[in-house]
Amino acid sequence: MASASISALNSNSLENSSSKNVSRESLRMEPLTNIPYLPGEEKVTDKEIIYMCPFNGAVKGKVNITNYRLYFKSFEVDPNIILDVPLGVLSRIEKMGGASSRGENSYGLEITCKDMRSLRFALKQEGHSRRDIFDSLFKYAFPQSHNMPFFAFLSQEKFLENGWNVYSPINEYKRQGLPNEKWRITFVNEKYELCDTYPTILVVPFKASDEDLRRVAVFRSRGRIPVLSWIHPENQAVIMRCSQPLVGMSGKRNKDDEKYLDVIREANGQTAKLIIYDARPNVNAVANKATGGGYEGEDAYQNAELIFLDIHNIHVMRESLKKLKDIVYPNVEESHWLSSLESTHWLEHIKLVLSGAIQVADKISSGNSVVVHCSDGWDRTAQLTSLSMLMLDSYFRTIYGFEVLVQKEWISFGHKFSSRIGHGDKNHTDADRSPIFLQFIDCVWQMTKQFPTAFEFNEHFLITIVDHLYSCRFGTFLFNCESVRDTQEVKLKTPSLWSLINSNIEKYTNPFYTKDSSRVLYPVASMRHLDLWVNYYIRWNPRIRQQPQNLVEQRYMELLALRDQYLKKLEELQLSDSPRISNNSANSPVSPTQIVHQIQTQF
C-alpha cells in the first residue's frame, strides 16, 4: 500500500493527475493520439505549433484543443515536453506579432495563466493559421462570455465516492454539539430571503427570534448578520461571522444589533467583553463610513471590544501576487532574491492573516467569544474563521474535515469564487479578481510545514485543490453563493472535486499524520518561520524541484514498505515454524494478523 504511491508523490499535480497517474474510472485514453480525455471531453481542433519554452527554447510539436484543455506534445522525444493545461486556468489570450512581423517565431499567441505561468506559442505566418486556434481557445476558455456552459456541466466523469455528500450543515452542527440550550438552528433563510449570499441553514442564539434576525439584517451590509461558525466543545465560546455594520457618516445606531451582540456575549456565561475582530486596517474601516459602512462604535457596544487586524483588501493582495509572479516566472530572480521577495509583501500578508487567526483562536481557547467581520464578510472573514477553526479543531485537519471546512466557511457562506477567480470570463482586468482563497491555502500550507504530523492531508492535496479552483472540471468552486448554485443545480449536474479526491484518498494522505485530537495548534506567524510555497509558485521551473520535505516523505514511504516486507516475511517464517499453524492457518489460534498486531504494539 505504501510503496505503490511513492511515484505519485510529486507536487506537479496537474501534470500528474491528467497525464501519468490517472485513475481508471475517470479517464479513457484516445488510442491514436495518446492524449488523455476525460469522459465528456471533446476535441475542438489541433495544429502543429512551436512552443516557446522559457527553459528549453523553441520546441516543435502539436497542440490539441478540447472543450476542457490545451494539450501540447513535442515531436522530440528527448526532451519530451508536454503541456496539459485546463482551459479554465487561462486568464488572458493575446495575439502577438502581425502577418508582416519579421524575425523568427515572432508571430503567435501569448497566454497568461491563473496558476503563475505564461505560455507563448509561435505559428507559421501563412494563411490564417492563428485565427482558428485563437478563436477556439477564446471560446472554450471563456465559456461564460460566450453563453456556453462550464465543462463541469458537460463532464460525464463517474467516481466511486460522491463528494457532494461530504458536507451536510445539519451533521456538521450536530458534530459541534448544536443545537443546544443556548444556540438554535434557524431556517429563516430557507428561501434566501434574509440574505441571498448566506446558506439556508444558520445557527443563532436561542434567545434571538427570527423577527430579531430580520431587524439585525437591516443594519448589516448585504444582510450578512452575525451567525455561528464554531463553538468550543468545553468552554462554549463561539466564533461568529458577519459583515460590517451600516454605521455611515452620521454614525447610525441599531438597538437590535446592539442587543443581538450582547445576547451572543452572554451565551457562554464567561465572556465579559465580546471581542470584535475587524479584519481591516483601522483607516479602511473609517473610510468605509463614507459608503455607508463602518465599525462598531465604543458608545453603542459597551460590552464589546473592537480590534483591527490590519489585513489589506483584495486589490492589495492581487497586486502582491502579480509581483510575486514577476520574480518567479519564467526565471527566478537571481541577484537579490530575498529583497525581491520581500518587496512583493506576499509573506507579510500571509503573516497578518495567520496572526489574526491566531488571535481569534487564542481568545476562543481562553473562553472568550468573538465576532469576526471585514467589509462584506466573505473574504478576510472567511480566511480568519476557517484558519482559526483549523487551529482549534483537529477534525478540520483530516481530509474529510478540511473538505467540510472549505465547503462550509468558504463555499456555503458565499465567498465569491466566481468573481474572485473569474471563472470562464474573458475580462482579465476585472477588479473583482483576487487570490484570497489561494492565500488561505497558502496559510494552511504554512501550518502544515510548521506541524508536519498534525494534518492528515499532504501538499499534493492542497495543490490539487488550488489547481481545480481554476480548472472548471468540477462544480465545487463555481458561482458566488448557494442561492445561485441551487438555481444552476450544480450538485445534480456537475461532479464534485471531493469525489476525485475521496476516490483515491491514499494519494492525498500525509504519511506522517499522527492523530492528536486535543491539541490547539498555534503556528508561529513570524517571518522567520514563513516560507515561500516553492512547490506551488515555482513548480513550473525545472531547476527547482524536489523540496526536502518531499524527499523525507519519499524515504519514509520506502521505510514503511520495507517494514511491511519484514512483517510479511516474519509472518511467513512464523507460519512455517509452526506446523500446527501451517496446516490450518485459517482457523489457527494465532492468525497472521494477530502476529502482526503483536509486533506493532511493541512500539
Binding site: 526532451p79 483588501n313 477588479a431 504530523t453 527547482i544
Partner: protein, 537 residues
C-alpha cells in the same frame, strides 16, 4: 621539538571538530575552556534548572558559558550599555553585565545583590579570563588532557582518520584509488608551519602545493613556490579559509564517503585541521590583537590532548544518537556484475571544458558521471577560477541541469541547488536560543521522530527475524534517542537544543502590524467591493 609545532598540535587536538549537526560549531568555540573557569562555573542565579536540554553536554551545563565562547561583555549603568575592554578594568564594576556569546546566546547578570568584594572578584575574573590576551598554554584543552580518562572507543564506529601520518594519507590514496604521490616536503614544517608533514599531491583534490616537483628542493625554492601558491588565492593571506572551504565542500559533493559520520570527521581533519585553517585567529580564542602568537614548547607526542571526535567525553552514548540522520541510506551491497551505470540513450554532451576527451578506461570508485566535473576541476587553472567569466558560469549552470536530468544517486555526485528560494537560513541553529521563535509541538523534528521510530521498528523486526531464522539471540536493539520522547507536544522546533521548561501554550503574537505598502497604498485605501456600479478600473 620546534616551538611552531605546538600550534599545529594544538589545533590538531583541540579544534578537530565538526559533525553533521550543529554540535560541531559549539564545541569549536568551547573546547578551549579555561581551567580556572571550569573550576568555578558561573551558575546563573535567575534560572532554576528543571530539565536539561535533550542535547546535554557532560562538560557544560545549559547555562554555563565557556570563557572562550564569550564574544563581548557590556556593563549596564542606568540602562546604558558600555562595552567593556579587557585590561582596562579597575576597581569599579557595573551593576549589570550583558554577556554576548559567540554562539548567539545573550546572558544578563545582576551584580547589585552580591557582596562588593565578591562582585568585584567575579567581574574581574570574567573579564580577565575572557577578554584579555592569554597564552596558548592557558587554553583549557591542555589542562583537560591531564585529567581525562579515555573512555573505551566503540569498535562499531569506523575511526576518524586524523591525517597526521603518512600512513593515513596512504590509506586515503588507496581508498580513492587515485594516482597521486605523497610528498614529505613538509616533514619539519619548513614549508608551512600550518600544514601537516605529509602532503598529498593529487589530481583529484584541489592541489595543496601545486608547484612542487618531486623530491626535495632547496629551501629557498620551496619558500618561493609556497609564496607563488599563496598568490593563487589572492583573496586571503594564507589560503587557509577559502581553500579549506572549497576543497572540503567539493569533496562532500563528489565523494559519498565524506557524507558518513567518520568520513566527514576525517574530512574536517584533512582539509581544516591538518590543512591549516587558522582556527585560533578565526575564533579569536586567545584574544590576542596582534598575531604574535607564542607557541608553548610542549612535547609533541607525550601530550595526549583529547580529540573532539571522542564524543563520549562530552555526550552520553544516548545523546550521541542525535548525530545520526535516520533518513540516511547506506550504500547497498550489490552484486558488482549486476550494476550498470545509468546511461540515457540520447544523452546531451556536457559542454564543459575538457569534456570532449574520452573517459578514462580505468574505473575509479567515482561514478562515471563525475568524470566531467573532475576534469573541469583538475583542468582548470586556479587563476581561471578567480576570473570566472559569464561563459564559465553558464557552463556550471548547464552542468547542474545535466546532472539534474539524471536520476538522483545518493551515493554518487550530489549538487546543491543554488537558486534563491533553495537557500535558507539555518533556523534550527541560529534561532535555537530564542523562545519566541520556537514552534511548540512542531518543526521538522516531528517527522524525524516518525522516521526514527520507524527505523527502530524495522531494526526490531530484523532482529526478530534473525532470531527466528537462526534460532539464536540477536543483539540488542538500538533504540534511537528520539524514541524516548513520546508525545509530540514535548518536542519543539528548537529540539534538541533548548530545554522544555519554556513550554507555554499561549501563542506568540507578533506586534507592529501596521506597515507601509509603498506604491500600492492607493489600492489599500480602496473599497474591497466595487459597490454597485462604482468600477474604478
Amino acid at each position: 621539538m620546534r616551538v611552531e609545532d605546538s600550534e599545529f598540535l594544538f589545533m590538531l587536538n583541540t579544534y578537530n571538530q565538526i559533525s553533521e549537526t550543529d554540535v560541531v560549531f559549539d564545541v569549536v568555540q568551547q573546547m578551549a575552556m579555561d581551567v580556572l573557569y571550569c573550576k568555578q562555573r558561573i551558575e546563573s542565579p535567575c534560572f532554576c534548572k528543571e530539565e536539561a536540554p535533550p542535547l546535554s553536554n557532560k562538560l557544560l551545563g545549559e547555562n554555563d558559558i565557556a570563557l572562550s565562547c564569550v564574544d563581548q561583555i557590556y556593563g549596564v549603568h542606568d540602562e546604558k550599555k558600555k562595552l567593556i575592554i579587557g585590561g582596562q578594568v579597575r576597581n569599579k564594576y557595573p551593576p549589570k553585565l550583558l554577556i554576548y556569546c559567540k554562539d548567539f546566546r545573550v546572558f544578563q547578570f545582576g551584580l547589585s545583590y552580591a557582596k562588593e568584594e565578591e562582585a568585584k572578584k567575579i567581574f574581574q575574573g570574567i573579564v580577565h579570563h575572557s577578554l584579555e590576551p592569554k597564552s596558548l598554554k592557558c587554553a583549557f584543552a591542555f589542562s583537560y588532557c591531564e585529567k581525562v580518562l579515555y573512555p573505551e572507543v566503540s569498535k562499531k564506529i569506523p575511526a576518524t582518520v586524523m591525517f597526521e601520518s603518512k600512513d593515513n594519507w596512504k590509506l586515503e590514496v588507496n581508498r580513492t584509488r587515485s594516482s597521486c604521490k605523497i610528498a614529505h616536503v613538509n616533514e619539519n614544517y619548513v614549508v608551512s608551519e600550518r600544514m601537516t608533514n605529509a602532503v598529498c599531491q593529487n589530481q583529484m583534490y584541489p592541489v595543496k602545493i601545486q608547484d612542487f616537483s618531486s623530491g626535495f628542493l632547496p629551501l629557498s625554492d620551496l619558500q618561493q613556490s609556497y609564496n607563488k601558491f599563496k598568490q593563487f588565492f589572492l583573496i586571503e593571506e594564507d589560503c587557509s579559509d577559502l581553500c579549506c572551504l572549497f576543497s572540503s565542500l567539493v569533496q562532500v559533493m563528489l565523494d559519498p564517503h565524506y557524507r558518513t559520520t567518520s568520513g566527514f570527521q576525517s574530512l574536517i581533519q584533512k582539509e581544516w585541521v591538518v590543512g591549516g585553517h587558522s582556527f585560533l585567529d578565526r575564533c579569536n580564542h586567545l584574544y590576542q590583537k596582534e598575531k604574535e602568537l607564542e607557541y608553548p614548547d610542549s612535547q609533541r607526542h607525550s601530550l595526549m590532548i583529547p580529540s573532539v571526535w571522542d564524543w563520549s567525553l562530552q555526550f552520553d552514548w544516548k545523546v550521541q544518537a542525535l548525530f545520526t540522520n535516520p533518513l540516511y541510506v547506506e550504500k547497498p551491497k550489490q552484486d558488482k556484475a549486476l550494476r550498470k551505470p545509468y546511461r540515457p540513450k540520447h544523452q546531451r554532451q556536457f559542454s564543459l571544458p575538457n569534456s570532449s576527451s574520452k573517459p578514462s578506461p580505468r574505473k575509479s570508485f567515482f561514478k562515471e558521471e563525475t568524470d566531467n566535473l573532475k576534469k573541469m576541476l583538475s583542468g582548470m587553472r586556479i587563476g581561471k577560477w578567480i576570473n570566472a567569466t559569464e561563459m564559465q558560469l553558464s557552463a556550471t549552470k548547464q552542468f547542474y541541469e545535466s546532472w539534474q536530468r539524471k536520476p538522483l544517486d545518493y551515493h554518487g555526485l550530489i549538487l546543491p541547488c543554488l537558486d534563491g528560494p533553495a537557500i535558507k537560513i539555518w533556523l534550527q541553529r541560529y534561532l535555537r536560543w530564542i523562545p519566541e521563535a520556537q514552534i511548540f509541538g512542531g518543526g521538522s523534528v516531528l517527522t524525524m521522530k516518525k522516521v526514527s521510530d520507524l527505523a527502530a521498528e524495522i531494526e526490531d523486526l530484523k532482529n526478530e527475524m534473525e532470531k527466528m531464522a537462526h534460532d539464536m539471540h540477536a543483539g540488542n536493539t538500538t533504540k534511537l534517542f528520539f524514541s524516548s520522547f513520546h508525545a509530540p507536544t514535548r518536542l519543539s522546533s528548537s529540539f534538541p537544543f533548548a530545554s522544555l521548561r519554556t513550554w507555554s501554550m499561549r501563542p506568540f503574537i507578533p506586534t507592529s502590524i501596521v506597515q507601509s505598502l509603498g506604491s500600492v497604498s492607493n489600492l489599500a485605501e480602496k473599497e474591497d467591493e466595487d459597490t454597485e456600479g462604482v468600477v474604478v478600473f
